[in-house]
Symmetry: C2
Subunit: 222 residues, 2 copies
DNA sequence: AACCGTATACTCGTATACGAGAATCCACAT
DNA sequence: ATGTGGATTCTCGTATACGAGTATACGGTT
């Protein structure tokens, strides 16, 4: 939910935001596994700042659902059990289907080519950590013409929250080729301006991911 | 997006959260109009605490989208133009329709009666400020059996973000009776377990609200 | 009189400091 | 050996303090 609404105005980049960005990336690429405690002192020292910006960053990440904070007990990378993952995927399916449906008729040739380019990048990318980001860029490119900034913001937030699990899924199984195949199907239907078909492919894509993830072994709560 | 996920565990209530709650309420009921600057010093003095908890509270409210913060320039109650309001209502329609569809089959008699009771409370409530809260309680009661906590959290967040505009709408026009009529239709269809009809009524309800709001005169950005 | 530059005041972001609560560990008793 | 009680340590929440950036107001200049 970062930058909902007035995302246009240029704001000075505060230390807290930089810390938040680094942490978000580290969590997404798996460097910080679910459940990892996030001690304010440690982070402050590691980043070379005081605890205050770190606090702000943690609170922001909490709002994004990536970190959970218990007063007097500290913060840790949010853990998700199978139920929560299922919930996120259900919401993603809802949000992204709608965004895609709205976007397809308005997609420019440039956007479509851009999305296709990202797919090639994914094929060429050996680093699994980068994959999650590229995946998000591809999806958002297809939704970008939906004409609803808030909807896009919600989708991005849910990608951030779920990407690290998708990443696990991709690295452990040989799911990537199947995913890429679905991606290309998706792009093709978009090129044909067939919104209904595109939505069907997307639903299958997300459903497959969810099913594979559930099967791969759900992470449990402490 | 407050309390997404682990909303079950009991957490100590920190000062920052109390401040956030008071501010959220004040913004929702219109005491703090859109665009009102929120000075950290003022708030800290008014609440009798230091600026730190106030900062935390503001950041949380920013994440919820009802306050916007510009570093070095301060915070103010988020302004929404007609476009943003339209976006919020579109998202609400999407989220709430799905939640209602999922919830209707699982609604207990108790929940339905509870919702009906809230409608009577609304009829009896002279204070317009309270109306927004009751409205939210009614809607959430109907969605509560949807089985997706995250979805419910999103819906609540969007209510919080939009309620103050709905409130304006209700106080200025004589929209309340129409709204209540639609509410009762909604409850009736839910009692009959007719999810499709319920969703239709809900879509009309939200569409009407949106249309009336757009007509009533959109608020402009500074 | 209008405009521009400088100085002042204001507000925020960050750092440091202190006190409270929880968790842990050790000693002692059972 | 195990369980309980207390003290210590760790971490967080809040308060206070300082420095930087921005807006504003005033005075000088054209």
């Amino acid at each position: 939910m970062r930058g909902l609404g007035e995302g246009l105005v240029q704001k000075p980049l505060t230390v807290a935001e930089q810390v938040a960005n680094v942490l978000r990336e580290s969590i997404a690429d798996g460097s910080l596994a679910a459940g990892t405690p996030l001690r304010q002192d440690d982070l402050a020292e590691r980043f070379g700042f005081s605890r205050m910006p770190v606090r702000d960053a943690l609170r922001q990440l909490e709002a994004e659902g990536i970190v959970s904070i218990h007063p007097t007990k500290g913060a840790h990378v949010a853990r998700m059990d199978a139920t929560e993952i299922r919930e996120i995927f259900a919401v993603r399916e809802l949000l992204e289907s709608e965004a895609l449906r709205l976007s397809v008729p308005n997609l420019t040739r440039e956007k479509l080519d851009e999305a296709g380019h990202v797919l090639n990048q994914i094929d060429a990318e050996p680093n699994v950590g980068r994959w999650g980001t590229l995946n998000r860029i591809f999806h958002l490119a297809l939704y970008s013409a939906c004409g609803n900034a808030r909807l896009l913001g919600l989708i991005e937030a849910h990608h951030n929250a779920a990407d690290r699990y998708v990443r696990i899924l991709l690295s452990s199984l040989n799911y990537r080729s199947q995913s890429q195949e679905e991606h290309r199907d998706l792009l093709t239907t978009c090129r044909h301006r067939d919104a209904a078909a595109a939505v069907r492919v997307l639903r299958k894509h997300l459903g497959d991911g969810m099913a594979t993830l559930a099967q791969a072994g759900p992470t449990r709560k402490p």
